[in-house]
Structure formats: structure tokens, C-alpha cells
């Protein structure tokens, strides 16, 4: 089963993302910030990482940067969930190694179609 690590400090967003993805048949693991996600990622492998940008402790950009240092995450698609429609955050994310982004607000269908796009 395709596995996804969903990282967001907002419980409602995390629940929505997780519910949507599980409903579409994905195996979903949740984390509430970058630090927790990084810990999980060190012991488990995922086919895709979906992360919010603004989070306490470790933000999404730092998380992507750190994940890319891990051997089994070199080529893993990583998407950022961001409300920043301005290019600044996207640029920082890209430089950190993010694959792409999904702009908030998004609905479950948009989320699924983007994820399916990435996973092919």
C-alpha cells in the first residue's frame, strides 16, 4: 500500500488530509510538527511526504531540508501545503528540496488529484 507521511500542526487540517487519503486507499501516518515527522521518517519509509510550512518546533522547509539528507528520502516526493501564494515560500521550499506545493485552501478532490499526479 502506498504510504504517506502527513505533517501539520493544525489538527483539523491533519484530520481532513488523513481522512481523505485513507479513504482513497493510502496508508497514512500523521505528525504534528517537523521534529516528530523527522523522528518517524528515520525509522519508517514513505512514498510521499505532505507537509505544512508554518509549524512550531521545526517548520516544513526545515523538515524537507533535513529529510533530503536522509539516504532513503533523496528522491521521495515531498509536497508542501502552503497558504503563501507569494513566490517567496515556494522558492524557499524548492531550495530546500521540495517537489512541489499545494496551495491552501484546497478541497479533498484537489488534494487527491495532486497526490495521484505525483505518485503517477
Amino acid at each position: 500500500m502506498t504510504s504517506i507521511l502527513a505533517v501539520d500542526d493544525s489538527a483539523s487540517m491533519r484530520q481532513m488530509v488523513s481522512f481523505t487519503l485513507k479513504g482513497a486507499g493510502f496508508d497514512v501516518r500523521e505528525a504534528t510538527d517537523g521534529v516528530e515527522a523527522l523522528e518517524i521518517a528515520k525509522t519508517e519509509s514513505f512514498d510521499l511526504v505532505l507537509t505544512d510550512v508554518n509549524m512550531p518546533n521545526m517548520n516544513g522547509i526545515e523538515l524537507v531540508k533535513n529529510l533530503r539528507q536522509l539516504d532513503n528520502y533523496k528522491f521521495t516526493p515531498m509536497l508542501m501545503l502552503t497558504t503563501e501564494s507569494a513566490g517567496d515560500m515556494k522558492m524557499q521550499g524548492k531550495q530546500a528540496g521540495a517537489t512541489g506545493w499545494i496551495v491552501k485552501p484546497f478541497n479533498p478532490d484537489q488534494l487527491l488529484s495532486t497526490i495521484k499526479r505525483v505518485l503517477g
Partner: protein, 693 residues
């Protein structure tokens, strides 16, 4: 796939209210002249989450309002602007406004629009924006280039290391334009010998020919994520030769390449992802089912849940052990049975403690509203006030916490209004310019103690006494100690209209505060010293669900008295009771007369003629008045779980609830304050007449 988003609304509201609390407390702690990045980041993050969630779950008015607030915060965060006191005020007002909007929406109503519009205007003036321009139309213009495009894709070597996969994009493009209109050619010239090939690098280039009328923006959207990791060139195919096409290339960023045709410029409009375009069409908020605004759920830390699961595990083990023992039991295994039962008792107690802990929350939840209150009130009263909070992590039951909020607010308002002196008076009295209000919480025995202290002028005993005499609350010739005088402020009727001010008045006197606290089985007292300050001390049980009870016997019935109300228990003879009026008895207990209540009489348990001579009297204190309750016998003391009589039957005067005892029988819990109510007038008259005599 359709997902019902309303199932996430409650969580969204809860976290948004929490976010607003964080914003408020950070703003209140902030010194605008010296703001650290972390504080602004915390505020920004909270606003940002609310905006993101509101947009996703369809609460557009909240999302739009938070947007302007976030814009100003972002400018402060990025150092474009520095924090100013007026911004702090505006942010605080916005927090209030958002709280109102979210509450409205939580209840399924449309949020108010006037206040957000006013505040929004203020933000826009600060930000130098006139009116937010209408959202850009994301729809692309119809493309006149219906011949198609030649796309040159030259990835940088590190493309794969962003998780992007060229074939994925090609597949997507093929789906977009149709298989028949799609042709891709790989350029392998730059692929090195196998021995020097670095497998992590992308070393191939591609040329894709799409013959389609699909708008260029849609094609570009597919490559949007890799614009910086690829050199992308889009050249129109106008049914001409490729040589011509190349000369009209448009690079990926939309900047016209050298020799570009004018038509190409027209299609190089600012890109927007498909996601953005669709998202802006988000549906209007669905009406949420009407829900109570008060939070009906609690957050429980994983530790507490784990400990509960652990306890249940132990209980299951004990149960299976006892089950086995019961299957073929003989007396030789009695010791084992007793061991098992004591194990069960321990498990049950631990489980009970763990379950109770779930309802416990740190008092910081109640304290957190005070910085704002003190700040606003200080401004209103023109007093400089510092708020200190101690013991914020002290835990108490969620219900108790919710109910203690109003009395606490009243006490703090009262201390600020009447307790603390004006700045001038403080300086004249040699005190610091700023007054201090201290909120302190700690556990003492099975209770939580909350103190509200001020370093103000202290209670004026002469004035209190004078007023109490005027009101007829105490006789003129009295020998009250200063402590007794201080506690007169809790008497009903002490608060007068002239004492009611905008701040602490609201027509609610200290007697109401005391009544509310007593309704929680708690007590309040005041300690005060002239020119040093006053401290209100509230004692509350840790929970309302369990009561430390004294079991008593009356005829064949067992009743429970809250242990906290019992002053003493004494054996008396029937002859020591005196009749006053009708069936009302009083008894002289040392130097005071106390009214006597006979439970057997109140509950109609036996005829008067059957009353025995030797009686047991339990002296209890409710509403600061002692009463004696006659019972037949004192049984043991134990913790009892309170079951509501109101929910299961109906409200009964004199009874606060019921419990189920170990033997399965139901015992009623006596409500000390209401059982004494019927006799209070008699008692007062009696006391006074006795004293006068």
C-alpha cells in the same frame, strides 16, 4: 470521492479558539518596543492556521479577515515594519472580533459583518491598501495558438533530487493533450559513458511536440514545480517549420526570448496553478448544525490515556484470575480469593484516579483570560496594574474550572476597582506606582485553593461595620473581630446600589460570589490588612464527581453528609432541644444557639412518639451558619460517586444527589445549604432575641 468537511468543523473551531488565546496572550506579554522574533512568529502562525483552516473548511469571512491581519503581521515578521502599540491594540481587537465570528459560525449563524469591515479598513489604511483588488481572474485567455507547442525540456542535473520525475510530467501532459497529439523525443547526447554515469543525476534532455488547442497556461502548470530545475522553452507550432517556431520561443518564466513574435507575448500571462484556480471557487460555507458554544470536549494527553489503558489491562487480568478462582472454588483457596479481591480494590482505585485525571486541566486555562482583563480594565480605571500568576499548572476538574471563572472575574474586577488605590494615592502612601494583582493556585489536602490578592488599601473595617449596622445586618453593640468584620462583605444585602460601579458592580455582590462558590461545595474567605492589601481565598473540591462523605443512619435509611461541611458530631439527650416556633427546635451549643433539623421528621421516617431520647447530632456549616442535624447513628466515611437525582428523577429540596453504596443500595446525599434554608429566619430571630436577652 466526496468528503463531508463538516465532520472537521468542531476540531477547527476548537483549535482556532486556542490559536486566538495564544495570539492574545502573546500580544499581552509583548513590549512593542522590544519584540522578539519568536513572539511575532507565534502570533503569525496562529493567525495563519486560522486563515488556512477557515479557507479549507469554507468559512470565507474568517479567512478573508485573517488575511489582512496576517499581511500586517508578515510585514512585521519580515522586518519591513516594526511593531507599534497601536498595532497591538488593533490585533487584540481583531482577536475579539474573530472570536465572535467563529462563535457565530460554530452556532450555525452568519457572522457579523460590521465590526470585521471596520477593523479591516484600519488594517488597510496601515497597509496603504485602498480596497483589496478583486481576486485575479485565473481563467486563461483563449489561446489563439491552436497549432500546438514544441516544448524543450532541459533538466538541471539535480532535478531528481527534488522528488520530481520527468516521466510523470510527460504522462500528465499526454493525458492533457491526448495520446495522438503527443510526441516526445529524447536527446541523449549529453549522457556520458556508463562508467562515469552518476545515477542520481538527470542527464537527458527532451523535446515534446504537442499538437493541441489546450491553453499554454495549462501546459505550463504541469511544469510549474520544476521551472527552477529545468530550462523550459515553449515554441508555438503554427503549422510552420520548426525553424520558425524556435525563433519565437518563450522561456519558462514568460520572459520573451530574443526574436519572439508578438503573439507569444500575449500568452505569457502570469501563471497560476490549477489548484489555485479551482480553490478560489470554493463553495460557500455549509451551515453547521447548531452546537453549544461552550466546549463540550476535552483534550487529553496521551500519557493519561496510556495510563488508563494500562489500568484496564490490569483490571482484566485480575478479573480473569478471580473468574478462574470462582470456577472451582473451595475454602482452601480462600486466601487466594482475598488476595484477588484486594488486588481488585487496588485496581479499581487506580482506575478511578486515572479517570478523574482525565477531567483535570491546569488552571492556566482559567487564568489565561486575566492578562487581557487586567490590561483593559487598568486602562479604563487609569490604574497601572501588574498581574502575577502563580501555580498555573495546578490541576482541577474541568467543570469546576468553568464554574469558577465568573466568581474569579468578579473578584479581580473588584480588587482592581475597590482594592487598588489610584496612582496618586499609591505614591502618596509610599507605594510603588503600579499595583499588583496576584492569582495563586495550589493544592491543599483534597482541595484546590485559589487566592486573589491585591496590594491595595485593604478593607476599611470602620466603613464596613457602619454599613452593616445601617443595613441591619449586625446589631450596633457587637464585639466583632476584624476578621469577622471583613467577612461581613459576603452577607446578602451588603452590596448596595451606590457601591455598584461599571467595573465591579454589575449588580452582583460578594454574596453572589460566595453562593456560586458554595454551589461548588467550596468556601471563600477574605484576609485584609490596612494599607497592605486584601487576599480572597477560595477553597474548592478538586472534582464535583466524587465526594468525601460521612455516612449516617436515620431509621433504616442511610444518608450522606459532605465531610467538608461537618464541624463536629456530638451525642445529645432529647431534653437539650428547645422548641421555638411550631416544630422548629434550637439547642444551646456552648455559647451559641443553633437551629436543629431532624432528618427523620423532614423525610417522614417515623412518628414523633417513636423518637428516642439519646440522639446523635451532626453540626454542619452551610452559608456560614451552623445548624445541627439529628441522626440515629454515624456510620463510616467514604468517597462516593455523585449521581444526579435531577437527571434520573427530579430535583428534591434538601438533597444534592445520590450514590450507590457497596451493597447496592441507594443513599441520598444531603444538601447542607438547602436543608438549612427553611429554618434560617427562625434561627436569626432566635439568635438575636437570645443575644439581646
Amino acid at each position: 470521492m466526496s468528503v463531508d468537511l463538516s465532520q472537521f468543523h468542531q476540531v477547527f473551531f476548537e483549535e482556532s479558539f486556542e490559536g486566538l488565546d495564544i495570539m492574545e496572550s502573546e500580544l499581552l506579554d509583548m513590549d512593542p518596543a522590544d519584540v522578539d522574533d519568536e513572539t511575532v512568529n507565534n502570533i503569525f502562525r496562529a493567525a495563519h492556521s486560522i486563515k488556512g483552516g477557515a479557507g479549507t473548511f469554507g468559512f470565507m469571512p474568517v479567512s478573508e479577515f485573517t488575511h489582512v491581519l496576517e499581511t500586517l503581521l508578515d510585514e512585521i515578521r519580515s522586518g519591513k515594519r516594526s511593531m507599534e502599540p497601536r498595532y497591538v491594540d488593533l490585533f487584540l481587537q481583531s482577536v475579539d472580533c474573530l472570536r465572535g465570528m467563529l462563535s457565530d459560525m460554530q452556532e450555525g449563524n452568519d457572522p457579523e459583518t460590521e465590526r470585521p469591515a471596520e477593523l479591516r479598513k484600519e488594517f488597510e489604511v496601515i497597509l496603504g491598501m485602498e480596497q483589496e483588488s478583486a481576486p485575479e481572474e485565473a481563467a486563461s485567455e483563449p489561446d489563439e495558438k491552436d497549432g500546438g507547442w514544441l516544448i524543450d525540456v532541459q533538466p538541471h542535473t539535480d532535478l531528481l533530487m527534488t522528488g520530481n520525475e520527468p516521466f510523470r510530467m510527460f504522462r500528465e501532459l499526454r493525458e492533457l493533450v491526448g495520446e495522438d497529439n503527443f510526441e516526445v523525443t529524447a536527446d541523449i547526447d549529453s549522457v556520458p559513458e556508463l562508467s562515469s554515469l552518476a545515477p542520481e543525476e538527470c542527464v537527458m534532455n527532451w523535446q515534446i511536440k504537442v499538437t493541441t488547442s489546450v491553453p499554454l497556461d495549462d501546459i505550463k502548470a504541469i511544469f510549474e514545480w520544476v521551472e527552477d530545475e529545468c530550462d523550459l522553452t515553449y515554441s508555438p507550432l503554427v503549422g510552420t517549420s520548426e525553424v520558425e517556431a524556435e525563433s519565437s520561443a518563450v522561456d519558462a518564466t514568460g520572459t520573451p526570448a530574443a526574436g519572439q513574435l508578438p503573439e507569444a507575448a500575449a500568452v505569457a500571462s502570469p501563471e497560476k496553478t490549477a489548484v489555485v484556480a479551482e480553490a478560489q471557487k470554493s463553495a460557500k460555507p455549509a451551515k453547521a448544525p447548531k452546537k453549544a458554544a461552550e466546549s463540550s470536549s476535552i483534550r487529553v494527553s496521551i500519557d493519561k490515556v496510556d495510563s488508563l489503558i494500562n489500568m484496564v489491562g490490569e483490571l482484566v487480568i485480575t478479573q480473569s484470575m478471580l473468574g478462574q478462582l470462582g470456577q472451582d472454588f473451595d475454602l482452601s483457596r480462600l486466601a487466594k480469593l482475598q488476595e484477588g479481591l484486594s488486588q481488585l480494590e487496588q485496581n479499581t482505585r487506580e482506575l478511578q484516579e486515572s479517570v478523574m485525571k482525565i477531567r483535570m486541566m491546569p488552571i492556566s486555562f482559567a487564568f489565561s483570560r486575566f492578562p487581557r482583563l487586567v490590561r483593559d480594565l487598568g486602562g479604563q480605571l487609569g490604574k497601572k496594574v501588574i498581574l502575577e500568576t502563580i501555580g498555573e499548572q495546578t490541576e482541577l476538574d474541568k467543570t469546576v474550572m468553568e464554574k469558577i471563572n465568573d466568581p474569579l472575574v468578579h473578584l479581580v474586577r473588584n480588587s482592581m476597582d475597590h482594592g487598588l488605590e489610584t496612582t496618586e494615592k499609591r505614591i502618596a502612601a509610599g507605594k510603588s506606582e503600579e499595583g499588583t494583582i496576584t492569582l495563586n493556585a495550589y493544592h491543599q489536602g483534597g482541595n484546590i485553593v485559589i487566592e486573589v490578592a491585591d496590594d491595595g488599601a485593604g478593607l476599611n473595617e470602620d466603613r464596613i461595620l457602619k454599613k452593616a449596622i445601617e443595613k441591619g445586618l449586625v446589631p450596633e453593640n457587637n464585639s466583632l473581630t476584624p476578621e469577622e468584620i471583613h467577612n461581613l462583605i459576603f452577607l446578602p444585602g451588603f452590596s448596595t446600589a451606590e457601591a455598584v460601579s461599571d467595573i465591579s458592580g454589575r449588580g452582583v455582590g460578594m454574596d453572589v460570589v460566595r453562593r456560586n462558590i458554595q454551589a461548588l461545595n467550596g468556601s471563600i474567605e477574605v484576609k485584609s490588612q490596612r494599607n497592605v492589601g486584601s487576599t480572597f481565598i477560595i477553597r474548592l473540591p478538586l472534582t464535583l464527581a466524587i465526594l468525601d462523605g460521612q455516612l449516617v443512619k436515620v431509621c433504616e435509611e442511610t444518608y450522606i453528609f459532605p465531610l467538608v461541611s461537618i464541624v463536629e458530631s456530638i451525642q445529645i439527650h432529647r431534653s437539650s432541644l428547645n422548641h421555638v416556633t411550631g416544630s422548629q427546635y434550637v439547642m444551646q451549643l456552648r455559647d451559641e444557639y443553633i437551629p436543629i433539623v431532624r432528618l427523620d421528621q423532614i423525610f417522614g421516617l417515623r412518628d414523633d412518639k417513636d423518637v428516642v431520647d439519646e440522639m446523635m447530632l451532626v453540626v454542619v456549616e452551610g452559608d456560614n451558619e451552623k445548624i445541627g442535624i439529628v441522626v440515629d447513628d454515624l456510620l463510616g466515611q467514604q468517597q462516593v460517586v455523585i449521581k444526579s437525582l435531577e437527571q434520573n428523577y427530579q430535583k428534591v429540596s434538601g438533597i444534592s444527589g445520590a450514590t450507590i453504596l457497596g451493597d447496592g443500595t441507594v443513599a441520598l446525599i444531603i444538601d447542607i445549604s438547602s436543608i438549612g434554608k427553611n429554618i434560617v429566619p427562625v434561627k436569626r430571630n432566635q439568635n438575636r432575641s437570645e443575644r439581646a436577652a
